[in-house]
């Protein structure tokens, strides 16, 4: 089922990451591939290290960055979907 703003997401255990120069580099342990995140992506990654509802993420991001809610929701869900496809985040069932 596609994720909505009510979905709770969390970083997967199948990854390790490090912060360098303000960016995040994530290693997917499932595929052994490195991924890079910058700017807003770094903040999203920081926030989903513990379970978060997507609408909470959007509220925080729109207060911290110069971005409107509609664009933020679309881009955040898209990014989280990409990360989920690579096994880096997943839905935290029963956490909320």
């Amino acid at each position: 089922m596609p994720w909505t703003t009510e979905t709770i997401v969390v970083a997967s255990d199948d990854q390790v990451s490090t912060v360098v120069g303000g960016d995040v580099v994530i290693l997917g342990m499932r595929d052994g591939i490195y991924y890079g995140l910058n700017q807003v992506g770094v903040r999203i990654w920081e926030l989903v290290r513990s379970p978060r509802r997507i609408d909470d993420l959007i509220t925080l991001l729109t207060s911290e960055f110069d971005i409107d809610a509609a664009s933020c929701e679309r881009d955040t869900i898209a990014l989280l979907g990409d990360l989920a496809e690579r096994g880096l985040v997943h839905e935290a069932r029963g956490s909320g």
Binding site: V16, T18, G21, D23, V25, M29, G32, Y34
Partner: protein, 289 residues
């Protein structure tokens, strides 16, 4: 014989007529892309006893046991080949594999000591690592390693380790650097690469700069690479990365993160023509400082 001041060896290599059969079952760790006849140049297999087997299509067989100290290597020279041919495999893919199994970061890089700071010349095969190192050696800078550079992480700084007593050049590089061909000797009769000797460094040297080599037909340029981008590029050029397991890669991520936090990375574009080699070397010397 014990030599005073020298510690016990880390690696013991024995050249043997044949290898014991791998303990079954055997799993494939890596193989090079298949050729048109369906064969692979190299297959790396792990047997059930924990020994890793390098099986080359030319008949070279190498069994690596990293379970204890020293690392024990048994090697069979391929029919018609020499110890020098075997050594090419041992100081390349096999050494790289052993280093990475031991948790030592190694990069696809040549290293040169520029006034007490190691310059790491990083790139894929054919990117000009050895040629550039030789060009710097011609200008009085001692080289530390060729093609494979191991790094040690100390409390104060990261050092490039010493390796090899020569650089390996293609004939085109011989012509570029020495003005003509036929001066240098081949490393082995069956391989085109040539042995370039020069003063080698005598001690490990702290890292000064990391250089990602690139080609162009234009002038020499350099740019500072942001740390996260540098990390991703270095991961692509870490030695023997195709043999790493996910836990090994997690160690690598930590090491690369520390590396790019401590040392600046530059992308340097160099000309294909030799005419600008002097400018190129001058720029590199400046980066090391």
């Amino acid at each position: 014989m014990a030599v005073r001041g020298h510690r016990a060896p880390d690696v013991a290599i024995s050249v043997v007529p044949s290898l014991p059969a791998p303990t079954q079952p055997v799993s494939l760790r890596y193989q090079t892309p298949r050729q048109s006849d369906g064969s692979s140049t190299l297959r790396i297999l792990d047997d059930a006893a924990g020994i890793t087997h390098f099986v080359y299509s030319d008949g070279t067989l190498i069994a690596v046991d990293t379970r204890g100290v020293p690392v024990n290597i048994l090697a069979v020279i391929a029919p018609g080949q020499t110890l020098d041919d075997l050594a090419v495999y041992l100081v390349g893919p096999v050494l790289g594999f052993v280093l990475r199994r031991l948790g030592i970061l190694a990069l696809h890089a040549s290293a040169v000591d520029v006034s007490g700071a190691a310059l790491l010349l990083i790139g894929a095969s054919g990117s000009g690592k050895s040629t550039t190192a030789a060009a710097l050696a011609q200008r009085g800078h001692r080289f530390l390693s060729d093609d494979l550079t191991a790094l040690t992480f100390g409390a104060l700084h990261i050092e490039a380790c010493l390796a090899f007593d020569h650089l390996r050049l293609w004939p085109e590089s011989e012509e570029l650097l020495l003005g003509e061909r036929g001066i240098l000797e081949r490393i082995t009769p069956s391989w085109e690469k040539l042995r370039f000797t020069s003063d080698a460094a005598e001690y490990p040297v702290r890292l000064g700069a990391l250089v990602l080599l690139d080609w162009s037909d234009t002038a020499v340029t350099s740019e500072l690479v942001p740390p996260s981008e540098a990390l991703l590029s270095l991961a692509a050029h870490s030695y023997s990365n195709y043999t790493l397991t996910p836990p090994d890669k997690a160690v690598e991520l930590t090491q690369l993160g520390e590396l790019v936090r401590c040392v600046s990375t530059f992308r340097v574009v160099r000309p294909r023509r030799g005419a600008q080699l002097a400018d190129f070397c001058e720029l590199l010397v400046g980066l090391a400082a």
